[in-house]
């Protein structure tokens, strides 16, 4: 499927273009990865595709205790978008450690474990426990989930709490820490700066945007919880702007995401300042997307006489 993309001077192309990136102490061969919650624990996609062009593998958000998630309906489609209210359903720390991590370790690709807590304390407990698992390459703290009342939303919107969570995680884990920001704040640059000061190694954004859709015949919200989080192409222009805001505010690298569904979209994120990108909803209807993006970005760099990905990162501000 992705073969056709690399045809012209295939060999030179591959040798010359360097796609590898460094995110703090995390080295990625390719700057493209799945977005948390859209890749399960890696098992399902592997029945369809190979992960050889993936920069990292990223898990569904994990909590201390298993979580059952929300009532149905949990998803609905809107023009160019998807609203979900899964409710952070996950297998919990113990089952992740016993049943899920071993599969991910087979691939020799960095493993990023996304996690969340119900309290500041739980974030650090989780960070400590996850750091003890052999094979985890980096942690991604989701401080932004808009779905669950007691987790998420409030943490990521309050700078003081962001500082406290990030610094307490850094105190009990030596792994590279990615802090995943909520997009719905007045000043995302300020939140990112706070996270950087508190010791974050990497910033990732955006998470989904709070959104709702109504069935006019039933006169009801389409989702059981009323609202959910919007993802997909509909949010891409907002995500580009937010990534660029953060790029101009912090020195640490950024993983950009939100609506990426082609390699061109990914290039936009790099140009806005992302050092790596993540793909979520887009891979649902095209499982080959991540590999196609890796190949497409490489071809783009080659055809435009760039020799590595860093030459285009944040290029719009240079």
């Amino acid at each position: 499927m992705n073969a056709g993309i690399l045809n012209k001077n295939d060999k030179d192309n591959k040798e010359e273009i360097n796609l590898s990136v460094r995110l703090g102490n995390l080295f990625l061969k390719y700057p493209v990865m799945p977005a948390s919650g859209t890749f399960g624990y890696g098992e399902e996609f592997f029945e369809i595709i190979d992960y050889s062009l993936f920069g990292a593998l990223v898990t569904k958000g994990i909590s201390l205790e298993p979580s059952k998630g929300n009532e149905m309906p949990r998803i609905c489609e809107t023009p160019c978008g998807l609203i979900n209210s899964i409710g952070l359903e996950n297998v919990g720390f113990e089952r992740f450690k016993e049943e899920k991590i071993n599969f991910l370790k087979k691939f020799n690709i960095p493993i990023i474990v996304n996690f969340f807590g119900k309290s500041i304390e739980e974030y650090s407990i989780m960070a400590e426990k996850l750091s003890d698992i052999n094979g985890v390459s980096a942690l991604e703290a989701n401080i932004s989930c808009p779905n669950v009342k007691e987790g998420g939303r409030s943490f990521g919107a309050d700078p003081e709490i962001v500082y406290e969570i990030v610094s307490s995680i850094k105190n009990c884990s030596a792994l590279p820490l990615i802090v995943k920001l909520t997009p719905l704040v007045t000043d995302i640059a300020m939140i990112a700066e706070v996270a950087e000061k508190a010791g974050a190694d990497i910033i990732s954004l955006v998470n989904t945007f709070p959104a709702a859709s109504i069935d006019i015949d039933k006169r009801k919200f389409k989702l059981s919880r009323g609202y959910g989080g919007l993802s997909g192409p509909a949010i891409k222009p907002i995500a580009i702007k937010l990534v660029n805001d953060v790029y101009n505010a912090v020195r640490i690298p950024i993983i950009g995401m939100g609506g990426i569904s082609s390699w061109e979209d990914a290039v936009e994120f790099f140009m806005a300042g992302a050092t790596a990108v993540a793909v979520g909803t887009g891979a649902f209807s095209n499982p080959h997307l991540i590999s196609q993006i890796t190949a497409g970005v490489k071809k783009f760099l080659y055809e435009n006489n760039f020799s590595n990905i860093y030459e285009i990162i944040g290029i719009v501000n240079n």
Binding site: T38, F45, I48, C80, S285, H288
Partner: protein
């Protein structure tokens, strides 16, 4: 070539035509040998006609209707919204994005020592996942008997295996292929709500009306006099008697499998009747249903399509767990479903 269970790519449409006598039902034929040769009835494919466009965003699930030949498979679909509308405009020679075959199909549990009846219950477009089942059952039986050839000499395939279809819909033209479908079955029963074709009324009622006959009419019952009126009553009607050991042993001679797909009200009616009549106390008399939910990913990663399944874990505060229709289903054993 590495072996993957599911294939994903853009494949050529070789036929996309409206089914005769219908307003909005189409038959789509797609060239893909892997899916044509490997799907199990009940499995589905995700199809996106507008593969580089974002509205509608997600691919849509469709049951594999049948294998057309070694290289092509078909789906039968009803236009009911944006995605299916777009699909109906696809022309021969166009490419559509396809991922599949996905999910768990129907399981065939045939028992060589007993007589097997396979009863398929379809509602309207719900015929789609069931359509290939008769061939699949026959192949399965033949394969199994070849395997166990030696003890098999006096086993009569025809006599010991009956496939029966119950097919209902609102009205005549939603009973697809009603004039040709007989050839795959030993018996076919039709019902329409408006009485325009077959029995006037509900297909589930018709099935239960006939249910008591399956043990008495089609097969010889050992130990019991088949003309005995008392016997008729015990079969599927009176759950008190059905539970008594003596009668269970009679039923043991019979292996009845039920397979169903249709609109939710029909399925819940069917499942509830099964519960009322305690048909699920016989493990051998399984009822498998193919369910529908809205899908986003269709491959099991987004957790958007879950349904409730009975939980046998007592520590669980609730008595259900969530399972994904797209990955753990779409075919489920009816007795697993929680409050369906």
């Amino acid at each position: 070539m590495e072996t993957k269970k599911i294939i994903s790519g853009n494949f050529e449409v070789t036929v996309n035509i409206k089914v005769k006598d219908t307003d909005n039902t189409y038959l789509l034929r797609i060239k893909n040998p892997f899916i044509a040769q490997n799907f199990i009835p009940g499995q589905f494919v995700m199809i996106k006609p507008n593969f580089c466009c974002s509205d509608p965003l997600s691919a849509r699930p469709f049951s594999v209707f049948r294998k057309f030949n070694e290289n092509e498979f078909e789906i039968l679909y009803r236009v009911c919204g944006k995605g299916t509308e777009l699909l109906s405009n696809v022309k021969k020679g166009d490419y559509v994005s396809v991922t599949g075959p996905s999910g768990n199909g129907f399981k065939i549990l045939n028992n060589k020592k007993s007589q097997n009846i396979y009863i398929l219950i379809a509602g309207g477009i719900g015929i789609a996942p069931l359509f290939s089942l008769p061939d699949f059952i026959k192949n399965h039986i033949i394969k199994n008997s070849i395997k166990e050839n030696e003890e098999n000499e006096n086993y009569d395939l025809e006599e010991n295996n009956k496939i029966i279809l119950y097919y209902g819909s609102k009205t005549e033209n939603e009973l697809y292929f009603r004039h040709s479908i007989h050839s795959s079955y030993d018996e076919v029963y039709f019902a329409t709500d408006d009485g325009s074709f077959g029995y006037k009324g509900n297909i589930v009622d018709l099935l239960f009306y006939n249910m008591k006959d399956y043990c008495l009419k089609n097969f010889e019952l050992k130990n019991k006099d088949k003309n005995n009126e008392e016997d008729k009553k015990i079969v599927f009607v009176n759950q008190e008697v059905i539970k008594s050991e003596e009668n269970v042993s009679i039923k043991e001679q019979l292996n009845i499998q039920f397979y169903s797909c249709g609109p939710k009200p029909m399925l819940s009616n069917l499942i509830n009747k099964f519960r009322d009549y305690s048909l699920d106390i016989f493990k051998k008399h399984s009822l498998q249903v193919s369910l529908e939910e809205h899908f986003a990913c269709g491959i099991g990663v987004c957790l958007g399509c879950v349904i409730k399944i009975n939980s046998n874990n007592n520590n669980n505060s609730d008595n259900f767990i969530f399972k994904r229709v797209c990955k753990d289903g779409p075919v489920f054993e009816a007795s697993e479903l929680y409050n369906y």
